[in-house]
Point group: C2
Chain length 290, copies 2
């Protein structure tokens, strides 16, 4: 098994994703000022998680409508663009499609940059400050220089190795799909998310095949009664249960801090599988056809 | 391997889910009349898919707000109830929680019944008629009496057997989680759904582990350019690709028809695994604690 505390393990990180991860806080475009409200957000691709975190309406009659275009999904770009342009609100296009007003290049770490731009553009500097402080705190204990026994991201990566992760985050459900995306784009690995009625799914979905296939590793994000009940259900049904409690703070700061920890975890998972944690080359073809 | 064209295979269906599946059309409560508009829907659990299909707003100032309470999820019931009662709209509680106005007992097939109630309660008899006609057409070729070579649900069940299904439905994304729920609650089996940016996920998430674990079976629901591209990406990465084109009709009728076919598929999958396709006993404990 590869050792995350040895330098040669990091050689597969040919494009230096570790640096992008480490220096993430404070990166991304800065708006010239605050945009007039009310604010709305339409998003697909890499901007989607930021839109879910801030829960702006998808439509405003006046003010500013941010159109986050950070993806390759077919058709959605054109449909959302037409919808946005049909109103009286000022439309600000952010992302990496042609003709955007604000450019954010594609990266699995861009969700932070969309979030930062939106917080600054809507006058929420205090909320951004709290998020950034949490991320800097997380960074101190998640980097490659922090050895396994003090590094929760390295530890979680070993738990997920050779297992199929199952992400459950009752305090903020969109974090599950964000975790699945990080695990795929950085960790190059498959993972599972439950449907809306997650507890019924845990109880029934693991009945028929419990002795077959990959061992599952449940990753319970956040805390509370739903996590406790899920743990009780899953303990006898999966190979490993990892609880990831959030740091203190607002729900926004907690969700982004957990997202950042999962990004580091996915990074270490790629190293353990011996694959490049970057995905630029993998996605280039998709960008060409869409 | 068990044979879906032999009677003894059906003995595990101890509670007769096949009858509930066959006779589904036209079941469920009927409203006394149309409720005053505008209409809003707040839903969790078994009512959720119906709410997604009809895309009513989650909040209305006046008119009628339907509160679909078809689940065990902790905390959501109370929070949604409080929210609903805080407005001026008439609140109609539908589901199986205590004190509901309209009772729909728990069942993995109840999503149809929530949909039917909502369509009748909001004056959409024509839309319901189209849905019911499609389901009756599907029924003719999906039941146990139709042999394998003419029965697409039996055929799909054999494709999914001993594989991990991956559902992708670009024409109506909520169908993926509905399919995952049916596969768990009826088929007693685990399945996968992709995150919002599905194509990136398909390209990157199957890199590191493609020679390990369960063979995957991609189930592509509906048609169009995104399905074609997903097929191209997935063909070399998964063990089997099943395309499930929708019948002719409105998007609503197409989505419900595909949901019904997947319910039959999950039923046959349970039989192939030799487990009871019902889930009442499995879920009884959860109902007690929540």
């Amino acid at each position: 098994m590869r050792d995350l505390d040895r330098e040669e393990t990091y050689l597969v990180d040919r494009r230096g994703l570790a640096l992008e991860l480490r220096d993430l806080v404070g990166t991304g475009p800065v708006p010239q000022g605050t945009y007039p409200g009310p604010h709305g957000v339409l998003a697909y691709g890499e901007g989607r998680f930021a839109a879910e975190l801030l829960a702006f309406p998808e439509w405003v009659e006046e003010g500013t409508l941010f159109l986050l275009e950070g993806g390759y999904d077919l058709g959605e770009a054109a449909a959302m663009g037409l919808l946005a342009e049909s109103g009286r609100a000022r439309v600000v296009r952010v992302g990496f499609r042609q003709g955007v007003d604000v450019h954010i290049p594609p990266s699995p770490l861009s969700p932070y940059r969309y979030l930062r731009f939106l917080l600054l553009a809507t006058g929420q500097e205090e909320a951004l400050k709290e998020v950034d402080e949490k991320l800097l705190e997380e960074r101190r204990r998640l980097g490659p220089e922090v050895p396994l026994e003090e590094n929760p991201a390295k530890f979680l990566a070993y738990t997920l190795l050779e297992r199929l992760p199952l992400f459950y985050s009752p305090f903020f459900r969109p974090l599950e799909a964000a975790a699945q995306t990080l695990t795929a784009r950085i960790g190059k690995s498959l993972s599972l998310t439950p449907p809306f009625s997650a507890l019924e799914f845990f109880l029934t979905g693991l009945e028929a095949r419990h002795e077959q296939g990959d061992p599952l590793a449940a990753v319970l994000l956040g805390g509370g009664e739903a996590v406790a009940l899920a743990k009780e259900i899953l303990e006898t049904r999966v190979d490993a249960v990892a609880e990831v409690p959030p740091p203190e703070g607002s729900r926004l700061a907690q969700a982004v801090a957990l997202w950042y920890r999962l990004a580091w975890t996915a990074y270490y998972l790629a190293l353990l599988y011996g694959v490049d944690p970057s995905d630029q080359e993998v996605l280039e073809r998709l960008r060409e056809v869409s």
